[in-house]
Symmetry: C2
């Protein structure tokens, strides 16, 4: 049974400060929880709403995975689950995850494909970009401090479990990013609306790609790489940043 | 000045039924309104919050566009604008648009590149796809009835003005879509997770692309075309549908 204090605690994790206190996040929904299990995340517990039919194939199959991974779980009153949930219509599955090891301070480990997110302040866009990175096997992400919090509930929701496939993630200042790019000899691509077509550039095997906010673009300090862009066909001013990230990443890594 | 009844009316347009009564929609935000003006939409009026500095470059430039297009506008109390707005932090610019001519029943006019959206129920995704279509110059869209309403406030918001570049838009049943594709001899591509790589298919000059919901994919009746997919590199189960649409549309129309 969920005690009042436990409910309060779980609810409090929608707040960034509270998540930082002991590095715990609450995730919601069947698919996100499935991805987190698949990627061997450190679960503390999983709660199901008792509205679920325990005999349904979906629940039986999920519980099999949960037990195989030695994760504890319980069924709780629907109204308790709903009161903790961050969504209006909760799917009735919540998981508590320890993310103490999520942020990697060891820049030497970063892979040879790095995404740098500058001032991506919309958590929905940020989550979608993380999901896209996970799909394309990109596991190293750097964020500037003006970006949204990566564990914001909306970001987790649109990330759809993509977070749990990221191996290296860190928030850095502009100067730290510049030093990193130079020291580690990455080819830097900067996504803009006026750069060279992504179909005309030489694609290096070791690169970092900077994506800026829709409102402000990439800040000047980080604009020292090769500017690249997606050729436009229609009349509208701009493309959504997560759509742009998908098209560009796809082009940078795609097998011919 | 905004009367109580006018405020009530404008507020009521967040509801689909009310929008249908006289084919009016309310749009919000600087960029969306700019795109709507640029694309010659039928404005009834534009309201600014008096929180805006009338002497700012941004407002002067916008008002110049508004006057050039003979659109009426007024400045109103911030609290009135906020009370009508669909967002928590309104940008303080609202526009009322007549969309009587938005839905095109004349299928003969549809261009040789058509996007078919099947059960795209998330209005944010739907809007982002519309914005992506506008970017790529795709102006003909068909939706199945289980898709979100194209004028849902969230859809308008994520559409970022893309709606106003769509020339042909219609909601059709599956059977009507099948008849249309066959009669008009479109090559049909169906985006799935198991189809042929988008890099290995022959791209015809006249095509329709079906995109299905993330939860259910494309319904069986519409799955009669060539199934195509984006090669996956990472481990996560799926890509966001709007990201997938961006990558696939880009590939189908891109100049080599």
């Amino acid at each position: 049974m969920l005690s009042i204090n436990k409910k309060k605690y779980l609810k409090s994790l929608s707040n960034k400060k509270n998540r930082l206190i002991d590095n715990k996040i609450l995730i919601e929904g069947l698919r996100i929880i499935e991805e987190a299990i698949k990627s061997k995340s450190s679960f503390e517990h999983i709660w199901f709403s008792n509205k679920h039919d325990k005999e349904s194939d979906k629940i039986i199959s999920l519980i099999k995975q949960i037990e195989k991974n030695n994760i504890t779980y319980s069924f709780e009153k629907e109204k308790d689950i709903q009161s903790i949930s961050n969504t209006k219509n909760s799917q009735g599955i919540l998981g508590l995850i320890d993310v103490s090891n999520f942020f990697n301070k060891e820049l030497n480990n970063f892979s040879d494909k790095v995404i740098i997110l500058d001032q991506i302040s919309d958590p929905g866009n940020l989550g979608t970009i993380i999901r896209t990175c996970a799909w394309f096997g990109i596991t190293s992400i750097i964020l500037t401090s003006a970006s949204a919090n990566i564990f914001n509930p909306k970001c987790l929701r649109s990330g759809m479990g993509g977070h749990f496939y990221i191996n290296d993630c860190i928030y850095l200042s502009d100067d730290e990013i510049i030093n990193f790019i130079n020291a580690k000899k990455y080819k830097l691509y900067c996504a803009t609306t006026t750069g060279e077509s992504i179909y005309n550039i030489k694609i290096e095997s070791r690169w970092a790609l900077v994506l800026g906010s829709e409102a402000h673009g990439i800040n000047k300090k980080l604009l020292f790489g090769e500017t690249i862009s997606i050729p436009k066909h229609g009349n509208i001013e701009s493309l959504n940043v997560s759509i742009a990230s998908g098209i560009i990443i796809n082009q940078l890594i795609r097998k011919k």
